[in-house]
């Protein structure tokens, strides 16, 4: 149990320092939200800059004041109480918490589904490849997965959008759902709405799955091959343990362990990567919100989105460590961690 307290303290420290680092980096960005807003007014309403600046000041009186250190302490104290400040760009004055609470489920829907599909399919295919390694099929899949893994997911996203979205028109090209579907939901038809949501999420999910499945398959293939060479597998076979039991309990379970940590870390990576995917599909999730916040120098929204992702990543890594200990009895807690 002592191990767990140490691990929790470490996780909290990591979150604190990562938040502080992000705060410093974001505060050193040139320009400020008022200037960005004023420029937006100049573009939108053809005002001159002074007028636009005055208007921006009057509609957005939420710009943090005081020295950098004061701003830092006030932000951190408010953050602890769950107050993430208000947005300046996305409908001025909306609490950041509300914006994020609206966006997060959508991003989680896309990346969690994509991760589960690519991990599940990838590990299954990888295991099959390991059993048949050296065969023709294995070498073909090896090449295909190597290629897919080296392609950036935004390239696949652009291709999917242009072919399946625009050319063939099979999938919607933007947004989280259609307005008509929302009307149906208001009238109490839940299923058509869910179908519409999934239809919109298909292309972003597909972009992730296509580029990530290869990594999992290749990882699982390597890991299974090394487990297959272990003595306890030969011993289990010699004892006459049923083949099916060997595949699931002996090989599968041991081979999947090394992939487990990367599974949790992937979530964080995908949160960051969703900035481009959501931009391409105009999908209003955390990524797109964060992109808009950065462009319009919306400090509180930026900080909020960054910090939520940071916390999610740290919790993910923490859970991975915990579960790893439960799954793998060989892990010595409190010992030298490699």
């Amino acid at each position: 149990m002592k191990w767990i307290y140490k691990r929790i303290i470490l996780a909290l420290l990591t979150i604190y320092f990562a938040m502080t680092f992000t705060f410093i980096v974001i505060k050193s960005m040139p320009g400020n939200p008022i200037q960005a807003l004023a420029q937006q007014f100049v573009r939108q309403y053809y005002m001159n800059y002074e007028e636009a600046l005055a208007l921006a000041m009057s509609v957005a009186p939420f710009v943090p004041k005081g020295s950098l250190l004061e701003q830092y302490f006030s932000y951190m104290m408010k953050f602890l109480r769950g107050d993430l400040g208000v947005s300046i760009s996305v409908s001025t004055g909306t609490p950041v918490v509300d914006i994020l609470a609206d966006a997060i489920p959508w991003t989680v829907l896309v990346i969690a589904t994509a991760l589960i599909i690519s991990f599940g399919l990838g590990t299954l295919i990888g295991m099959a490849m390991a059993y048949k390694h050296g065969s023709k099929l294995d070498s073909i899949l090896l090449t295909v997965f190597s290629i897919l893994r080296s392609v950036p997911e935004y390239i696949v996203a652009i291709l999917l959008l242009s072919i399946l979205g625009f050319q063939l028109g099979w999938f919607p090209v933007r947004g989280r759902y259609d307005y008509e579907a929302l009307q149906l939901l208001r009238e109490g038809h839940i299923l058509p709405f869910i179908a519409n949501v999934l239809w919109h999420a298909t292309l972003p999910i597909l972009a992730w799955v296509i580029t990530h499945i290869g990594g999992w398959a290749l990882g699982m293939r390597g890991s299974t091959i090394s487990v297959l060479g272990e003595d306890y597998i030969s011993y289990a076979k010699a004892r006459g343990v049923p083949e099916r039991r060997i595949i699931t309990r002996y090989v599968g379970r041991n081979a999947i362990l090394p992939l487990f940590t990367s599974f949790m870390l992937s979530l964080g990576f995908m949160f960051g990567g969703s900035i481009i995917i959501e931009y391409i599909f105009s999908y209003q999730g955390v990524g797109l919100i964060l992109y808009q916040a950065i462009v319009s120098r919306d400090w509180f929204l930026m900080l909020g989105a960054f910090n939520i992702i940071i916390i999610a990543v740290v919790i993910g890594a923490f859970l991975a460590d915990l579960l790893y200990g439960l799954l793998d009895p060989r892990v010595r807690r409190g010992g030298e961690t490699l």
Binding site: Y154, I280, F306, I310, L338
Partner: protein
């Protein structure tokens, strides 16, 4: 005489043996040829290809290489600005490669230094270094790069390369540290210690050779990662568009010309995509050879 012998050894170690290993592995050979092709494109391409001037030709000329008879007038067609796409690909390759290799090199260098120091020093220094690594690892990479890009606002490929290494080295540092911890207790390192050999000898002569293949492969992965990051930043339009870069072409094709939703302009977006995927693939296949070139067991088998 000694100098000649040394030269002979160098040629043998760095040219002939790697050459044989590459020739033996078909995938690696393809990867090597592709990578070499891109490097040549970046080095001499801009010298022999005309500068991609805008508004010189009509917009959206179809790729002439796919016409009958094929011609090299506009092999990949022209774009929204009436500039030759092939010239833009060639001129862009230079910045893409400089960014990628700078970032790959710096990322690997920081990764090795931090990982080795942490693994060797142990104790408090190890804890601090790994703490910093963990902190940087938790901050989402791509969003952080976008913020940094708006702070630094540069189009200098070397500076962009440096920027991309800011938190790319963390994974490598962690793995190097683990490897050092494992190697530290091996017999040959203990023997070297017992002989009283200096630390630099142990690091560079005993431990490094064992990690070379791993480090070289990670250099390639860091390069691939830097291409992903830099093209992504250009695609999002957060870096100044003053140089040529495939990411800028992607951005223009996507946001200005809407090249992804009309068949007429499709070639405009496919050209940079093909260039990026080809380079990534070449580097990845080449990494198979690199792994074998630095693997002492395979080396002895060959020579």
């Amino acid at each position: 005489m000694i100098a000649r012998e040394a030269l002979h050894h160098i040629v043998y170690d760095w040219v002939i043996t790697p050459g044989r290993i590459i020739m033996r592995n078909k995938k690696a050979l393809i990867g090597f040829i592709i990578t070499l092709g891109y490097v040549l494109m970046a080095v001499i391409g801009p010298e022999v290809t005309p500068y991609p001037e805008s508004y010189k030709y009509p917009k959206y000329i179809k790729p002439t290489i796919f016409k009958w008879p094929p011609s090299l007038e506009h092999p990949l067609g022209t774009d929204y600005f009436g500039a030759d796409i092939w010239s833009k690909i060639v001129w862009g390759s230079r910045t893409v490669l400089i960014i990628a290799f700078t970032a790959g090199f710096i990322t690997t260098l920081i990764g090795i230094t931090v990982g080795m120091t942490a693994g060797f020093a142990g104790g408090r220094l190890d804890a601090v270094l790994m703490g910093v690594t963990d902190i940087l690892m938790t901050i989402p990479g791509l969003p952080l790069l976008i913020v940094l890009a708006t702070i630094i606002r540069t189009s200098n490929p070397i500076v962009i390369g440096l920027m991309l290494s800011v938190n790319a080295w963390t994974g490598l540092a962690r793995s190097i540290r683990s490897a050092v911890l494992a190697l530290k207790n091996t017999e040959f390192v203990e023997a070297a210690r017992a002989l009283g050999l200096p630390t630099w000898h142990i690091v560079f002569r005993e431990i490094m050779p064992n990690l070379m293949s791993f480090i070289a492969v990670n250099f390639i992965f860091a390069t691939i990662g830097a291409i992903y990051g830099s093209v992504g930043l250009y695609f999002l339009g957060v870096l100044p568009f003053t140089e040529f870069n495939w990411g800028i072409m992607l951005n223009m094709a996507y946001s200005q010309a809407g090249a992804h939703h009309s068949i007429e302009t499709m070639h405009y977006i496919l050209a940079p995509i093909a260039a990026i995927v080809g380079l990534q693939l070449g580097l990845l296949l080449f990494s198979y050879a690199i792994d074998e070139i630095f693997n002492p067991r395979i080396r002895t088998e060959i020579s």
